[in-house]
């Protein structure tokens, strides 16, 4: 990668324009992704059998089926149905939840904060646990600490979250009565879901931090910093860690989106009133307006997270900032 010479104020205004263009193209991409995801799910739902039967509870009467089919517009050609769906979805109208008899999108959005709260706490736990483990394993390479840290990481990657969740419930709720088994009533409720949600990501990030820090420790600027006689914690904390951050942030960005997937399982185990549990229940109940609204909210959230991650790069590594602008 070429480091360009920094220009005067003129270049910075050019950067601003380029940034705006970048931002707009990213927003366009997001819209496209969301639109295509919804289209795919729409057709999958429609093509997978009689949609009316999917949309209705099992114990329905025959005349009700026909009436509902007419009411929901399933007698129209597929193209008409699709156009109507797109037109409504563009206005944020995904129809009414069949189970809760309420606006599907509002229902989904009401559950979003609980998921974001859990996800953010788990993400915090991930970084607080994984980065020190990764850095210590790298700087104390080959010691017992390194083996313990990386052993835990390899195990963390292999242990499925839902099994870890069950085992934690067994030990801390059933046997020790220390923690509640589920719900969202107070800080104690956060402990186990966060550990479960964070375990897999923390493991991967710890391993990546270790290898990234090991790579950076070989760079000349680290040698220079040490030669200047800087304290070791400054060499590691400032010179090494910030320069090791790019791959870590990349992975964290990809994984943060996957946290939404992990939340589906974690929320189900711990009866967490979030988006993931709602989605699973909607799928089980064949409540497809809610499924479509959830797909919408999840793909928007996911792409927004990735956008934030991309913007973080610019802050971490000015080289990518100039390159994107050029």
């Amino acid at each position: 990668m070429v480091i360009r010479q920094s220009g005067g104020p003129r270049e910075s205004s050019g950067t601003l324009v380029a940034m705006r263009g970048y931002f707009l193209s990213r927003l366009g991409q997001t819209a496209l992704v969301v639109f295509l995801s919804l289209t795919v799910v729409f057709f999958l739902v429609r093509l997978s059998g009689d949609p009316v039967l999917l949309f209705l509870p099992m114990d329905i009467q025959a005349k009700d089926i026909n009436e509902t089919r007419q009411r929901l517009g399933f007698n129209d050609p597929l193209a008409v149905q699709y156009t109507r769906f797109v037109a409504n979805a563009a206005r944020g109208d995904f129809g009414e939840s069949l189970r809760y008899r309420r606006d599907a999108l509002r229902l989904v959005l009401e559950r979003l904060p609980a998921t974001l709260e859990l996800g953010a706490t788990a993400l915090l736990l991930t970084f607080v646990a994984a980065i020190p483990i990764g850095v210590l394993s790298a700087t104390r390479r080959g010691t017992l600490l390194d083996y313990l840290g990386m052993g835990a990481a390899v195990l963390g990657q292999a242990i499925p979250g839902f099994w870890l969740g069950l085992m934690l419930i067994y030990f801390f709720s059933v046997r020790l009565h220390w923690l509640p088994t589920g719900g969202m009533d107070g800080p104690a409720n956060f402990v186990m879901p966060c550990i479960v949600l964070a375990s897999f990501y923390a493991a991967r990030i710890a391993r990546l931090t270790r290898s990234s820090v090991l790579d950076t420790l070989n760079e000349e600027f680290v040698l220079t910093a040490r030669a200047k006689g800087l304290a070791e914690w400054i060499v590691i904390g400032k010179h090494t860690l910030k320069n090791s951050a790019i791959p870590i942030v990349t992975l964290a960005g990809l994984e943060t989106g996957q946290l939404l997937g992990g939340a589906v399982i974690t929320e189900t185990i711990f009866a967490w009133p979030g988006l993931g549990r709602l989605t699973v229940q909607a799928l089980l109940n064949r409540d497809f307006p809610v499924v479509l609204a959830a797909v919408f909210v999840i793909s928007v959230t996911y792409t927004l997270i990735n956008l934030v991650v991309d913007l973080l790069y610019g802050w971490l590594d000015p080289r990518t900032r100039r390159e994107a602008a050029a």
């Binding site: 990657q157 242990i159 499925p160 979250g161 099994w163 989106g257 939404l260 997937g261 185990i269 089980l284």
Partner: protein, 275 residues
């Protein structure tokens, strides 16, 4: 085999041992199982591990946990192998074609991958599975439909770089036909990355299948799948810990074994280390 070689690859050997254990359990389930995995005996319900005749205890219907865990290895490995083969074939072939011929179909394919990757894998597989239906075949189809993009991406990238190498250019200059170049010169050089991705995906698929079955989709009871066993065990967590502990441990150890083998393969096959 020298001691140093063994020490350097100790994790790889551990992985191989764990994976071999899973294969032995899967292949040998009919011989190794002390009982029928689906036939219950109500008089023997919820016996703890160590009960004579039931080494790992029994579940609420009196079915032998050990037998079910052993048969569960069959289900898990069968699904894992089928899904990996299917995704490697479909994703690998599409990636190969997209990278080799390029053009707008290749670009369109990559955009499709982008869209699919902008949705969490497990949620995608779960949604597809909930829509196409339950059962063994459909869970394989769902996982493959959600997982093929990784191959397409990786293989396309590799092909783009291999295509520029001298031996490929030389073969083309000698008048070798395009299919021959593709399958004789490009494919063998892309194969290591396909193998690496496959080994890394394998455990992901097994765990994802278990997670989906755990949530009530995928493989249904009474088929002895680890995920559905864990799902059933939730109702008995207060009285029978072994119903949750053993299928989950089997799943974790299998995933660990496959992961370690995957890491090992990557170290051996990765061009960076091959020099």
């Amino acid at each position: 085999m020298s001691a140093a070689f063994f020490r350097r690859n100790v994790l790889g050997f551990l992985g191989l041992a764990l994976a071999a254990l899973a294969v032995i359990a899967a292949v040998g389930a009919p011989v190794l199982s002390p009982h029928d995995p689906v036939k219950g005996d109500f008089s023997q319900g919820l016996k703890p591990p160590g009960t004579p005749g039931h080494l790992l205890g029994t579940d609420q219907l009196g079915r032998d946990t050990l037998s079910r865990v052993l048969y569960g290895a069959r289900v898990a490995l069968f699904i894992g192998i089928c899904t990996v083969l299917l995704t490697a074939l479909v994703g690998g072939l599409l990636g190969l074609l997209a990278g080799f011929f390029g053009g707008w179909p290749g670009n369109a394919l990559m955009r499709l991958c982008d869209v699919q990757l902008s949705f969490p894998f497990i949620l995608l597989a779960l949604t597809i599975n909930a829509i196409v239906g339950l059962g063994l075949r459909n869970i394989i189809v769902s996982l493959a439909a959600a997982g093929w993009v990784v191959y397409a991406r990786v293989v396309r990238g590799e092909v783009l770089s291999v295509k520029q190498r001298d031996y490929v250019q030389a073969a083309a200059a000698l008048g070798t036909g395009r299919p021959r170049i593709l399958f004789r010169h490009v494919l063998p050089n892309v194969a290591p990355s396909i193998i690496i991705v496959a080994s890394l995906q394998f455990s992901q698929f097994i765990v994802a299948e278990a997670a989906i079955s755990f949530l009530g989709f995928g493989v249904q009871p009474p088929t002895p799948a680890w995920g559905s066993m864990l799902s059933e065990s939730r109702d008995f967590l207060y009285v029978a810990w072994w119903l949750a502990a053993f299928p989950g441990a089997a799943l974790a150890l299998t995933a660990l074994g496959v992961n370690l083998v995957g890491d090992w393969l990557r170290d051996i096959l990765d061009p960076k280390f091959r020099v």
